[in-house]
C-alpha cells in the first residue's frame, strides 16, 4: 500500500522514459565528437602529406597555420585577420542588436493585436520569402555600396525570424495561465510582464538561434559581393589569387564563430529558460 501511494517527482520519471526513447544511454557525446574531429584532421594531414591531391585544391594544415600567423601579423587584403574578423563580427553584432530591439517588440505586438498582425505580416512575409542576395542590389542602389546597405540587409535577415518567434511565443501562451493570473487579480500590465513575456522567452531564444544562422550566411555572401573588409571579402580576394590556404583560414575562422554562437545560445538557454519544455 505504501509503495503504491508513494509519489515520485514527475520530472525524474518522465526524463527516464524520454531518454530511453531518444538515446540508449545517458552521458555526453564530447569524447565521440572529439575523436571524430581528430579523425578528420588526420585524414587532412595524410592527404596532403602523401600528396593525394594538388596543394592548390587542399593546402596542408601547416601551410594554413603559417598563413594564419602571416595574416594575423602582416594582414591580407587591406587588413589583418583581426581587422577582418572584427569587421564581420561588428556587422553581425549590430544587425542582431537591431533585429532583437525591433523584432521582439514588433513580434509581441503582432501576437497581441489582430490589426497589427494583419498589417505587418504582409510586408514581412513578402521580404522574408526573398533570398537576401536577390534584393541586395536594390539596397545598394538605395543606400550605396557602404556599410549601411549591408547592415540593413543583415538586420532584415535577423528581424524576421525573431519577430515570428516572438509572435508565436505570445500565441502559444496557454489561456488557462492567463486566466489563473486574472483570477489572482493581475491587471493588463502585470499579465504582460509576469505571464506573456516569460512564456514567450523560449520561443524568442529559438528565433534568435535561427536569426544568427540567417545573419551569418547572409553576411559572408554579402561580403563576397560588396565589401572592402570582412572574412567573406578576405576569402573572395584570396580565391582570386588562388590562395587556397587563406580561403581555408577564412572558412575555419567562420566555423569557429558559428560554433561560438551555438555555445553562447546553449548557455543562454540554460541560464534563462531552464524550465523550457518542462510544463
Amino acid at each position: 500500500m505504501s509503495a503504491l501511494s508513494e509519489q515520485e517527482p514527475l520530472s525524474a520519471a518522465a526524463l527516464r522514459v524520454s531518454r530511453r526513447w531518444t538515446d540508449g544511454k545517458t552521458g555526453g557525446t564530447a569524447l565521440i565528437s572529439a575523436a571524430t574531429l581528430l579523425a578528420i584532421l588526420l585524414l587532412w594531414v595524410a592527404t596532403t602529406h602523401w600528396h593525394w591531391t594538388s596543394p592548390l585544391f587542399l593546402p596542408s594544415p601547416s601551410e594554413v597555420a603559417t598563413q594564419a600567423v602571416a595574416t594575423a601579423l602582416d594582414g591580407y587584403a587591406n587588413g589583418t585577420l583581426l581587422d577582418h574578423l572584427l569587421a564581420s563580427l561588428g556587422r553581425i553584432g549590430l544587425a542582431l542588436t537591431i533585429g532583437i530591439v525591433l523584432g521582439v517588440p514588433v513580434g509581441l505586438l503582432m501576437g497581441l493585436n489582430r490589426v497589427a498582425r494583419g498589417v505587418l505580416s504582409v510586408p514581412i512575409d513578402i521580404y522574408w520569402g526573398l533570398p537576401p542576395l536577390a534584393y541586395l542590389p536594390l539596397l545598394i542602389i538605395w543606400l550605396g555600396i557602404g556599410e549601411s546597405s549591408k547592415i540593413l540587409l543583415l538586420s532584415l535577415s535577423a528581424f524576421a525570424p525573431i519577430c515570428f518567434a516572438a509572435q508565436a511565443g505570445v500565441r502559444s501562451v496557454p489561456q488557462e495561465r492567463i486566466n489563473a493570473a486574472l483570477s489572482l487579480g493581475a491587471d493588463t500590465r502585470q499579465i504582460f510582464f509576469t505571464i506573456i513575456l516569460p512564456s514567450a522567452l523560449p520561443e524568442i531564444l529559438t528565433g534568435l538561434r535561427i536569426a544568427i544562422g540567417a545573419t551569418l550566411s547572409t553576411l559572408v555572401a554579402a561580403e563576397l559581393i560588396a565589401a572592402q573588409s570582412g572574412l567573406g571579402y578576405m576569402i573572395m580576394s584570396a580565391a582570386n589569387f588562388l590562395a587556397t590556404d587563406v580561403v581555408f583560414l577564412g572558412l575555419i575562422v567562420i566555423a569557429v564563430i558559428a560554433f561560438g554562437f551555438t555555445v553562447l545560445m546553449r548557455f543562454l538557454e540554460r541560464r534563462l529558460v531552464p524550465w523550457k519544455g518542462k510544463l
Binding site: E8, N179, A180, G185, T194, W275, L279
Partner: protein, 262 residues
C-alpha cells in the same frame, strides 16, 4: 454569499448554430458551504464556473457576490484549475505568492504568508523547488495554496483532482476538507464523480447537458462526518451514502425521469 440568478450562456458554434451551454440556472453558495456541480461533460458545469470566475460573460441573468454583481475576474474568487497553471520559471513559494505580488504586497511579507499557506497544504519543504519537480498531486496542492493566498471569499475548483490517481485523489479530498474546515471558505466544486460529489458537497447540483441546466439538488452532510472522522472510509460505508449514490446514478443515466429533491 454568492448568488447565481437565472444565469444563461449561449454560444455561437462554429457551424453557425446556437448552443445553450447554460440555461436559466439559479442557486446560492452560502458561507461555509461546499456546493458541488455534478454532471457528464458538456452539461455546462465548466461554463458555470468560468462565468462565476468572470472569464466568461453571462448571456442573461446575474451573479452577485455579497450583493455586488461580478464583473470580470478578480482576487475575491480564487480558482483552482483542472490543468495545473503554475509558472514553471518561478519557485513553488513565488507561485503561491503571485496573487500577493499583483496586489503590491512587499516581497518579504508575501513570502512569509506564502510559507504559511505551503505549510497548510503540507509542502513547506518544497518552497524553493520549481513546480515541474513536483508530482501532479503536489502541484494541485500548490494551486490550492496559491488560490488561498489572496484570501478570496470563495474557492472555485474545476475538477481539480480529475487527473490524479485515485489514492492521491483521496488524499487531496482529505486536504480540501481540512482546509475548508479550518478556513471556513465557501467552495464551488466541479466533478463528474458521484462519489466525489457526495463526499465533499454540502449541496449537490446535478446537471444535464443540451441545454446545460440543473435537474436536481440534494443537501448532504457526509463531508462533516468526513471532516470529523478525518478519514473517508466511514462515509463510504454509510448506507445513506450508498442509497443517495444509487439515486443520483439513476438520475444521471435516466434524466427523463426528472425530479427535484430538496
Amino acid at each position: 454569499m454568492l448568488s447565481i440568478r437565472n444565469a444563461s450562456v449561449v454560444f455561437d458554434a462554429a457551424d453557425g448554430s446556437r448552443v445553450n451551454a447554460l440555461e436559466n440556472v439559479s442557486f446560492d453558495i452560502p458561507p461555509k458551504s461546499i456546493v458541488v456541480a455534478l454532471g457528464a461533460s458538456g452539461c455546462g458545469k465548466s461554463t458555470l464556473l468560468n462565468a462565476i470566475a468572470g472569464f466568461l460573460p453571462l448571456t442573461s441573468g446575474e451573479i452577485l457576490l455579497d450583493g455586488r454583481p461580478v464583473e470580470g475576474p478578480g482576487g475575491d474568487r480564487g480558482v483552482v484549475f483542472q490543468k495545473d497553471t503554475l509558472l514553471p520559471w518561478a519557485t513553488v513559494l513565488d507561485n503561491v505568492a503571485l496573487g500577493l505580488r499583483y496586489r503590491g504586497v512587499p516581497r518579504a511579507e508575501r513570502r512569509d504568508h506564502a510559507r504559511e499557506l505551503l505549510a497548510l497544504v503540507g509542502l513547506q519543504d518544497f518552497a524553493t523547488k520549481p513546480p515541474y519537480e513536483l508530482s501532479g498531486g503536489m502541484r494541485q496542492r500548490v494551486g490550492i495554496a496559491r488560490a488561498l493566498a489572496t484570501d478570496p471569499k470563495i474557492l472555485l475548483m474545476d475538477e481539480p483532482f480529475g487527473a490524479l490517481d485515485s489514492l492521491t485523489r483521496e488524499t487531496m479530498q482529505q486536504l480540501l476538507v481540512d482546509v475548508w474546515s479550518r478556513t471556513g471558505k465557501q467552495v464551488f466544486f466541479i466533478t463528474h464523480s458521484i462519489e466525489e460529489a457526495l463526499t465533499l458537497g454540502t449541496e449537490i447540483l446535478v446537471m444535464s447537458p443540451r441545454p446545460g441546466r440543473v435537474i436536481a439538488r440534494y443537501k448532504a452532510d457526509f463531508v462533516r462526518d468526513f471532516a470529523a472522522a478525518g478519514d473517508i472510509g466511514g462515509v463510504l460505508n454509510d448506507p445513506a451514502f450508498g442509497q443517495l449514490r444509487a439515486e443520483i446514478r439513476a438520475l444521471i443515466h435516466h434524466p427523463t425521469q426528472t425530479r427535484t429533491a430538496a
